[in-house]
C-alpha cells in the first residue's frame, strides 16, 4: 500500500467512525484533558509573560530604594552624578473620605516624571477603555482606582479628602507601576501629586510612611550605583531591582501554577482512564476489519500506519478543540480573579496551544496507543474463526505507557521531580485506599441483593458483574466530589471562624498614627462620642539587631534566620501596667523603681522562635540610635483580641526619647461610622484601620480564590463523566444484547429502565459515600494539623455528597443506557 492510499483509506475510515459516533468518548476525553491543561497554561503564560516582559515597567524603574524615613540628599546626588534619572514618591495608607463614606486607601504621591519605566494607564471613567497616560495628577487632583471609586460611591469629577486636603478625582487609574510584588493588594489605590502631601497633614514624626526613590539608567550605571549604595544601607532600607520585583510575582505565580497543576493532573489522569477504556473498545471493534485487511494483503506496517494516522489526526483535531475550550475557560478564570491580579494579562501566545497539542498527543500515546497497537497483531484467520482475538496487551506496556505519560505531564506542571513522585505516590495510595473502599461498599451492596425487588436485583447485579469498571467510576467521581467538598468546607468554615472571631463588643477599629500632642484631644473626642476605647499606647518602631551582643542572624537557628520579625521594624511600647490579655510566662513584670532601667518584656512566640530567654541582652536600633536592654519577662499575647499589642514592652523612661505615635482600638457599630469622618477631619494624621472591612476584603479574596479552584475542579468532574460514559460505551454491546434477551423473555421496558436507574443511582451514591469518607479524613487532617481549627463531624457532607453523586450519575447513566430499550430486540438478536 503506498502512502497516499494508506492516508486516503485512513481518513475515510476515520470519517466513517466519526459519523457512526464511535469516536465521541475518545475525543471528548482528549478534549477535556487538553482543555484542562491549556486553561491553566494560557492563564499562567499570559500572566507570566506579562511579568517577565515588563518587570521594569511594573517596577516603574530599574531600581527602587524604599525607606521609612527620607534618605540623605547625597545619595540622590550620587545617583544623578552616576547618570541616573531619579524620581521620588511617598507611599502611605490613609483613610479617604467622600461625603459620609470612608475607605482605607493605599496612597502614592509622585512627582513629575513618574514612572521612570513603563506607563500609567488611565480611563476617563470607571469601566471605560483605558489608555497609557504620560502625565501625573496635577496639584489639587488625584487619580483613583476603580475599586476605590466603587467603595466610596464616586465618579471621576467628584472630590475626596486625604487628611486635610480635598482632591478632585480627574481620572480612573487602571494600572500603576510598582504595585507588582503584592499580587493580592488589599487597599484600593489613589495616586496624587507629591506637592499636595504637606497640605494633607499626614506626614508627622513617627507616621508609618514609605519613601520611595526610583532610579533608571543604563545597566552598567545601575550596577555601579547599586554597588555604591549597598554598603550605606541600614536595616530599615529595602532595595528592589528588576529581579527582586520579578521574583516576588514569579514565585506567587509559580505556586499558583503548581497548585492548580495538581488539580489539573487529576483531571488528566481521569481523562486518560476514559481514553484507555474508549481506545480498548475502539480496538476491539476493529479486529474484524484488521483481519479482513490482512486477508486482502495488507502488511502489519500497513495496518500500523493506517491506525496511527487515524489516531494522530483524531488526537490533533480533538486537542485543537480542547485548546479552544481551554482558552475560553481561561477567560473565565481571569474574570473570576480579575480584581486580584497584579497586572493586566498580556496577549495570548502560541505556546500554550503547542503545549496543549503535545499534552493531547502524550495522553493519547500513553493511554490509547497500547490497545490500538494490538490491532496489527490480529490474525487473518479471524475471518474464519471469529473467536480469535490477539493476545491481550502486555501489562507492562499498557501501564508503563500510561505511567510514563502521567510522569511526563506532571513533571511539566510541577517542574520538580520530588514533588512529582510524591504527588504520584500520594495519588496512587489515595486511589488504592478509596478504590478498596469502593469495592467493599459494592460488596456490601451486593449482600442486599437477595432481599430486594427485581429492578434492584438487576441493577445491583450489573454493578457487581462489572465491578472493575464500577470501582473505577466510584473512584473517579469520589475523587472529584471529595476535592470539591473539601474546598467548599474549608471555605465556609474559615469564613464562619473569622466572623465568629469578631464578637459584637470586641474592638473592630484601630486608630494609629495619633500624634503625642493629640492624645488628650482624641481621648476627649472619643469620650464626647461615647466611644469606649482601650488604653492609648505609645508606639515606637525599631529593629532587633543583636542577642547577647551577637548579630541577630548569627544568634538564631537557621530556620529562624528568615523570620519575618528580623526583616522588618517591630512595634515597641512602654507602660507600667500589663495589658489585660497578656500573661507573664517567665521572669517578672515591672516593679516600682524599674522606670528608666533598660529592661524589656518580650512576646512569647517571638521569643520562642528566636530562642530568647529571660536575662538575655537584646540590642535594638530606633532610627540611627542603638541601645541594649535586658529581658525581664516573657509574655503571652492574645493577638486576636483586637487590642493594641506589642512584641517589645519597655518600662517608662527607656524609649520615651524616640519619636512615638500613639494608638488605640475601639468598638464601633456599623451605624456609627460617620463619627470616623469627623475624627479623621479633626486629626488628619490619624489612620483608622477598619478591621471589619479589612476582614471582609480578605474574606472576599479568599472566596474568589477558592471559587477559582473549584472552577478548575469542574474539569475533574467532567473527566469523571468521561470515565462514566466510556465505561457505559464499553458495556453497551453487552447491555444491548442482554436487554434484547430480557425483553424477548418478557421483561417490560419499565423493569429494564428501573434496573438502570437503580444501577446508576447506587453507583453515584457510593461514589458520594466514598467522597464523604475521604472528605471527613482529609478535613480532620487539615483542621487539626494545618488550620488549627476545632474539628467537628461534617454531617452535611454525608448527605450532600451521596445525594449529588446519585443525582448527577443517576441522570447521566439513565440517559446513556436509553438505547437498550429503544432498539428493537429482534434486530439486536439478529445482528448478534
Amino acid at each position: 500500500m503506498n502512502h497516499a492510499t494508506r492516508w486516503r483509506l485512513a481518513m475515510r475510515l476515520l470519517a466513517r467512525d466519526w459519523r457512526a459516533g464511535e469516536l465521541r468518548i475518545l475525543s471528548a476525553a482528549i478534549i477535556i484533558a487538553v482543555a484542562a491543561s491549556t486553561a491553566i497554561g494560557f492563564f499562567t503564560d499570559r500572566l507570566g509573560r506579562g511579568m517577565v516582559n515588563q518587570s521594569a515597567d511594573f517596577l516603574g524603574a530599574d531600581l527602587v530604594l524604599e525607606s521609612p524615613r527620607p534618605v540623605a540628599a547625597e545619595w540622590l546626588a550620587e545617583a544623578r552624578e552616576t547618570g541616573l534619572g531619579t524620581s521620588e514618591a511617598l507611599k502611605f495608607s490613609s483613610v479617604l473620605v467622600a461625603g459620609d463614606q470612608l475607605q482605607l486607601g493605599g496612597v502614592r504621591a509622585v512627582e513629575a516624571g513618574f514612572p521612570l519605566r513603563g506607563r500609567l494607564r488611565t480611563a476617563a471613567g470607571p469601566f471605560l477603555t483605558d489608555a497609557e497616560d504620560t502625565g501625573i495628577p496635577v496639584v489639587g487632583e488625584a487619580w483613583a482606582a476603580p475599586r476605590l471609586l466603587t467603595r466610596l460611591g464616586l465618579n471621576s469629577g467628584d472630590s475626596l479628602t486625604v487628611g486635610e486636603r480635598t482632591l478632585l478625582i480627574r481620572k480612573v487609574l487602571t494600572f500603576e507601576p510598582g504595585q507588582a510584588g503584592s499580587p493580592f493588594g488589599v487597599a484600593p489605590r489613589l495616586l496624587m501629586n507629591l506637592a499636595d502631601v504637606p497640605a494633607t497633614g499626614v506626614v508627622q514624626p513617627g507616621s508609618r510612611l514609605t519613601y520611595q526613590y526610583l532610579f533608571a539608567g543604563a545597566e552598567q550605571d545601575i550596577a555601579r550605583y547599586r554597588g555604591w549604595l549597598k554598603p550605606r544601607l541600614g536595616p530599615s532600607h529595602r532595595l528592589i531591582g528588576v529581579q527582586e520585583g520579578r521574583r516576588a510575582v514569579g514565585s506567587a505565580l509559580e505556586r499558583a501554577e503548581r497548585f492548580l497543576g495538581l488539580a489539573i493532573m487529576a483531571a488528566i489522569v481521569l481523562a486518560g482512564v476514559a481514553i484507555a477504556m474508549a481506545a480498548r473498545r475502539y480496538s476491539e471493534r476493529h479486529f474484524d476489519m484488521s483481519a479482513m485487511l490482512r486477508c486482502l494483503g495488507a502488511t502489519q506496517r500497513d495496518l500500523l500506519a493506517l491506525y496511527l494516522a487515524q489516531l494522530l489526526v483524531l488526537g490533533l483535531l480533538a486537542s485543537a478543540a480542547g485548546c479552544l475550550l481551554g482558552w475560553l475557560a481561561q477567560q473565565g478564570l481571569l474574570a473570576l480573579l480579575a480584581e486580584l491580579l497584579p497586572m493586566a494579562p498580556s496577549a495570548t501566545s502560541a505556546w500554550p496551544v503547542l503545549a496543549g497539542l503535545l499534552t493531547g498527543l502524550v495522553v493519547l500515546a500513553g493511554f490509547a496507543l497500547p490497545p490500538v497497537l494490538r490491532l496489527k497483531d490480529v490474525s487473518p484467520l479471524r475471518v474464519l474463526r471469529r473467536e480469535l482475538s490477539p493476545l491481550t496487551g502486555n501489562a507492562w506496556l499498557v501501564y508503563g505507557a500510561a505511567i510514563t505519560a502521567v510522569l511526563l505531564l506532571m513533571w511539566r506542571y510541577t517542574g520538580n521531580a520530588k514533588l512529582t513522585l510524591a504527588a504520584l505516590a500520594g495519588g496512587a495510595a489515595a486511589s488504592a485506599v478509596l478504590g478498596l473502599l469502593g469495592f467493599i461498599l459494592l460488596a456490601l451492596g451486593r449482600r442486599l441483593h437477595t432481599r430486594v425487588g427485581v429492578a434492584w436485583r438487576f441493577g445491583l447485579n450489573n454493578l457487581w458483574r462489572r465491578r472493575r469498571a464500577s470501582v473505577s467510576q466510584i473512584l473517579a467521581f469520589g475523587l472529584a466530589l471529595m476535592a470539591m467538598a473539601v474546598i467548599a468546607l474549608v471555605r465556609s468554615d474559615l469564613l464562619s471562624t473569622w466572623q465568629s472571631q469578631l464578637p459584637v463588643d470586641v474592638p473592630n477599629h484601630f486608630a494609629i498614627n495619633i500624634m503625642p500632642e493629640e492624645v488628650e484631644a482624641v481621648r476627649g473626642f472619643m469620650a464626647a462620642h461615647a466611644v469606649e476605647t482601650t488604653r492609648i499606647y505609645p508606639m515606637v518602631r525599631g529593629r532587633l539587631v543583636t542577642i547577647n551582643d551577637a548579630p541577630v542572624r548569627q544568634a538564631v537557628t537557621k530556620e529562624a534566620q528568615s523570620d519575618n520579625a528580623l526583616n522588618r521594624e517591630l512595634n515597641f511600647t512602654w507602660t507600667t501596667e500589663l495589658q489585660e490579655d497578656n500573661r507573664i510566662l517567665s521572669g517578672r513584670w515591672w516593679r516600682a523603681g524599674d522606670a528608666g532601667r533598660p529592661l524589656v518584656s518580650v512576646e512569647s512566640k517571638l521569643a520562642e522562635r528566636l530562642g530568647i530567654e529571660v536575662d538575655d541582652y537584646l540590642g535594638f536600633t530606633v532610627g540611627d540610635e542603638v541601645f541594649t536592654a535586658r529581658v525581664a519577662s516573657i509574655r503571652s499575647v492574645q493577638w486576636d483580641s483586637f487590642r493594641p499589642n506589642f512584641y517589645m514592652v519597655f518600662p517608662p523612661g527607656v524609649i520615651e526619647r524616640f519619636a512615638a505615635t500613639w494608638m488605640t482600638s475601639f468598638h464601633l457599630p456599623p451605624g456609627d461610622k460617620p463619627m470616623l469622618i469627623e475624627l479623621v477631619r479633626n486629626y488628619p494624621s490619624i489612620t483608622v484601620l477598619e478591621m471589619d472591612l479589612i476582614l471582609a476584603q480578605v474574606e472576599r479574596i479568599f472566596r474568589q480564590v477558592t471559587l477559582a479552584v473549584e472552577y478548575v475542579l469542574l474539569f475533574v468532574l467532567l473527566a469523571g463523566f468521561a470515565v462514566l460514559f466510556a465505561a457505559l460505551q464499553a458495556s453497551l454491546d453487552e447491555r444491548l444484547y442482554e436487554g434484547a434477551l430480557l425483553r424477548a423473555l418478557g421483561a417490560s421496558r419499565r423493569q429494564l429502565r428501573s434496573g438502570h436507574l437503580v444501577e446508576f443511582i447506587t453507583l453515584g451514591a457510593l461514589a458520594g459515600l466514598v467522597a464523604a469518607i475521604g472528605t471527613e479524613c482529609l478535613a480532620w487532617v487539615l483542621y487539626s494539623q494545618v488550620l488549627h481549627f476545632d474539628y467537628s463531624f461534617k454531617w452535611p457532607v454525608w448527605i450532600a455528597a451521596p445525594l449529588t453523586g446519585a443525582v448527577l450519575i443517576g441522570a447521566a447513566g439513565y440517559r446513556g443506557t436509553r438505547p437498550v430499550v429503544e432498539r428493537s430486540p429482534v434486530l439486536l438478536l439478529r445482528e448478534r
Partner: protein, 224 residues
C-alpha cells in the same frame, strides 16, 4: 496451483493436544474447481485457512502458485494473498465503514492498482449492483452483500479463489443466484476455485470433491 503434503494441524487444549488435521496430501490444478466437504468439525475451514496461508500448519507444507507458504513470514504471506488470492466468506466480511464501491476498491488500492474506481464500478455492474455503489453494507440485503464480496474477490483477478460456505447465510433461492454468479465469474477469469461447504448440491457443481472426516481425507472423487 495449490499443493499440500503431509499437512497437519495440532492445537493444545485443556484435555491435551488435539489433532484437527492429519496427514493431508492434495494437488489442485490451475483452473480446477474443487469442493472440500464434510460435516461440522471435520476440519474443512482449518484446511482452507492453511491452504490460503491464513494460518501455519503444525507439520507438512503448503505451496501456493509455487510460493512456499511455510517459509514466508506473516507479511510475506499477506503479500502473496494480496496478489494471488481472493476470498468469499459465509459472513461476507465487508468493511462496515466503507460503501459497496469502496469495499471493492480496497484490494485494488492496497495493491496500488491503476484506476481502482473504474475497475470496481465495472465489477459491481457485472454482479448487478450498478445502482448500489454508495450503499453501506448495512443498507444491503444478504444476497447483495455477498455479491459485493464476490466483486471484491475478483477485483484483483486472483489466480485462486477460496470460498468458505458462501451460501451459508443465504436462503436457498438467493444462494443459488449467488452461486451461479460465482461460477460464471470463475469461468470468465479462469480462476482456480477451492470451495468449502457441507451442502452436497453445491459441491456437486465442482469438478472434484475432497471429503474430510475427523481431520483426514477419506475420499477424493470426481463429480460424475
Amino acid at each position: 496451483m495449490v499443493a499440500a503434503s503431509g499437512l497437519g494441524k495440532r492445537v493444545d487444549t485443556a484435555a491435551g493436544p488435539l489433532d484437527i488435521l492429519t496427514d493431508i496430501d492434495l494437488q489442485i490444478q490451475g483452473g480446477e474447481a474443487v469442493a472440500i466437504v464434510g460435516v461440522s468439525g471435520s476440519g474443512k475451514s482449518t484446511l482452507l485457512g492453511l491452504l490460503a496461508g491464513l494460518d501455519l500448519p503444525s507439520s507438512g507444507d503448503v505451496r501456493l502458485a509455487g510460493h512456499h507458504m511455510n517459509a514466508l513470514d506473516e507479511d510475506g504471506r499477506a503479500q502473496v494473498r494480496g496478489l494471488l488470492v481472493g476470498f468469499v466468506f459465509q459472513s461476507f466480511q465487508l468493511l462496515p465503514g466503507l460503501t459497496a464501491l469502496e469495499n471493492v476498491m480496497l484490494p485494488l488500492e492496497l495493491a496500488a492498482a491503476d484506476r481502482p474506481r473504474a475497475q470496481a464500478m465495472q465489477l459491481l455492474e457485472r454482479v448487478g449492483l450498478a445502482g448500489r455503489l454508495t450503499h453501506y453494507p448495512k443498507q444491503l440485503s444478504g444476497g447483495e452483500q455477498q455479491r459485493v464480496a464476490i466483486a471484491r474477490a475478483f477485483s484483483m483477478q486472483p489466480a485462486i479463489l477460496f470460498a468458505d460456505e458462501p451460501t451459508g447465510n443465504l436462503d436457498s433461492s438467493t444462494g443459488e443466484t449467488v452461486i451461479d454468479l460465482l461460477f460464471e465469474l470463475n469461468r470468465e477469469h479462469h480462476t482456480t476455485l477451492v470451495l468449502v461447504t457441507h451442502d452436497e448440491a453445491l459441491a456437486a457443481r465442482c469438478e472434484r470433491h475432497i471429503r474430510l472426516e475427523a481431520g483426514r481425507i477419506m475420499a477424493a472423487s470426481n463429480t460424475p
